[in-house]
């Protein structure tokens, strides 16, 4: 469990090549007592980095993801994605940024049940007005990459949980996003399937993708370069992982 060497370093703000940057981000919910979902959070995600977020339930992990994902905007402080101040963008521009620069992977997969695997994968292209036959080719390439080259025309109900998550990963990659966001991607999968999915994440990381992933499980988090520990909306520590665990059942990594 503790083969990673914890390096108790505070996050440094100001990396010039950071894809995502938070500075003094505040998000408060008022339901009687104010709840600080995020409290003065500053961090940055360098290009090509793989960051895991851990913390107890209610510590603000999903809120953080929603901020990076341009689904939410800070009450105070700034969030920049690819140099653009998310809070200053119009609703439509934020949607555009979301479609082109971010790829979401969820615990519940969140595929459209009536669309085929290929159509689900290319859905983000539809909203970016990418047309033509190239779309089908793109879906084919990506589904082959996640090991589903023979399931193009299956709908989600015809696929297993692991296969659905692979479709979701292919969908997250389709517009070549700057950041891939994953909120407990293995949360609904058994250990073995979860490991296969983490293997895919490792491949994406090797290929240079920037990844931000929330997880409850330490061994999943250890696939990342570093682990951000959130408690009560604040960064408690940023742990640097020195040695990634071998992927279960496969030694090819």
């Amino acid at each position: 469990m503790s083969q990673a060497e914890p390096t108790h370093r505070k996050n440094k703000v100001g990396d010039t090549d950071a894809t995502v940057r938070f500075s003094g981000v505040q998000r408060t919910y008022y339901l009687g007592e104010p709840v600080h979902a995020l409290d003065e959070v500053s961090l940055s995600l360098p290009e090509g980095s793989f960051t895991a977020v851990m913390g107890p339930s209610g510590s603000g992990k999903s809120t953080l993801m929603n901020m990076v994902g341009c689904l939410d905007t800070p009450d105070d402080g700034t969030v920049t994605v690819n140099g653009q101040d998310v809070g200053a963008l119009s609703d439509g521009k934020r949607a555009r940024l979301r479609g082109s620069e971010l790829g979401f992977i969820f615990q519940q997969f969140n595929l459209l049940p009536r669309l085929t695997a290929a159509e689900n994968v290319t859905l983000p292209m539809v909203f970016q007005n990418v047309v033509g036959e190239s779309r089908r080719d793109r879906a084919k390439t990506l589904l082959a990459r996640v090991g589903l080259g023979d399931r193009l025309d299956h709908t989600p109900p015809e696929l297993s949980g692991g296969q659905r998550q692979r479709v979701a990963i292919a969908r997250a990659l389709v517009n070549e996003p700057s950041v891939i966001l994953a909120d407990e991607p293995t949360g609904n999968l058994d250990t073995e399937t979860g490991s296969e999915i983490m293997e895919l994440f490792a491949e994406l990381h090797d290929d240079g993708s920037t990844i931000l992933m929330v997880t409850h499980e330490r061994h999943i988090a250890e696939h990342a370069d570093r682990i951000i520990h959130l408690v009560d909306g604040q960064i408690e520590e940023i742990e640097h992982v020195t040695e990634n665990p071998p992927v279960q059942g496969s030694e090819t990594a």
Partner: protein, 413 residues
Amino acid sequence: MKIAESFRISWRSITGHKLRSTLTTLGIILGIGAVIVFMVLGGGFEKDIIGEFEGEESTSIQVITTTESNFGQGTAQNKIYTEHDMEAIGEIDGVDWVAPDGSLQVVQLSHQGKTVTGGGAGSTFSVTATNPDRFRADLFEMTAGEPFEKGAMDQAVVNENFVKLYDGDVSVGDEVELDFRNKPSQTVTVTGIVNDDTGNGIPPRVHVDLQHYETTVQTPRGAEERAFSYLLVNAESLDQVDQVKKDIQGYFDGDSDARALKGDEQTIEAQTTEDAIEQFQQIVDQIAILLGGIAGISLIVGSIGIANIMIVSVTERTREIGIMKAVGARKRDIIQLFLVESIILGAVGAALGVITGLGIGYIGISVAGWPMAYPTTWILIAVAVGIFVGVLSGSYPAYRAARVDPIEALRRE
């Protein structure tokens, strides 16, 4: 998002719920179907009747009595046109002849031993006493034989429906026995067969000489004279028809027996064939307006149905909306998706309504034996209305869909 893309995705969600989509569009299908059925039937009926006259200008002028009541316009059968009036009209410049319609009541007809009992008003046949000039009207065509001789009590002209009544077994020279209700029966010889079918509902009819007619009224001048409920006047030429009509109208509006005898709410009208067609057209138009109202109500019901289903659908698909927003859908993309969906429902409903309407209308027309009419304008209006209903009923649900908060939507279990 490209419109074609939203069609593809919306179509998928419509066909994903076939039963629900069908039930949703039912209101529209029925509303538009009803209008089209009527338009086909009305159009066929109109063609059938107007087709008879079309292109043929007529020198005939009919004098009828109309009644204005709460239920619209009707034709009255009061016997107000006296012999004195007939003579006066006969003297108008340009009038060729005047023929009245004197209805006689005949209880039974016998022909070659086969007796038929009347079934009309008062269980009688319509036997018309007139003068033979009547058969010179261009509205009628003698298909066999010739008119009876003026004043010949024992001669008659029968119409084609009468021949049909005897399964075609009636020819010129045959004898027919007329069993009158209130005088001794009379045997007449058929001198000719006339086609008097100026539309629908002409019963089997026997025309006999005016001498048979005995109904009299007390005229305002104190005399006892025969009187009729209808006059057929013929102008000498087409050029004179309009002037003759005006003069006849002028006579009746002036010092005529008919004006004194008619009821207060009744109007005497001299009508050319053109006038009659126009009046008929007006009735058809009025029914069309009435039907338009009924269709409007059913379309309102239909659009409420679509709106209702769309709102349910937005609630049900909140998560899907969240997913689409997470992968880059803008508000306007979501609006577009839901509007396209309701427009498809409206337009497909309208198209199915048109098809159903044409189908049922065609069956109706075949049964009635009228020509088929394709109400092109109404078909276009129906489709336009379908699209309009789609936009109208989809707007609010689409607006609601666009406002879905993706964070909330995705957090749902």
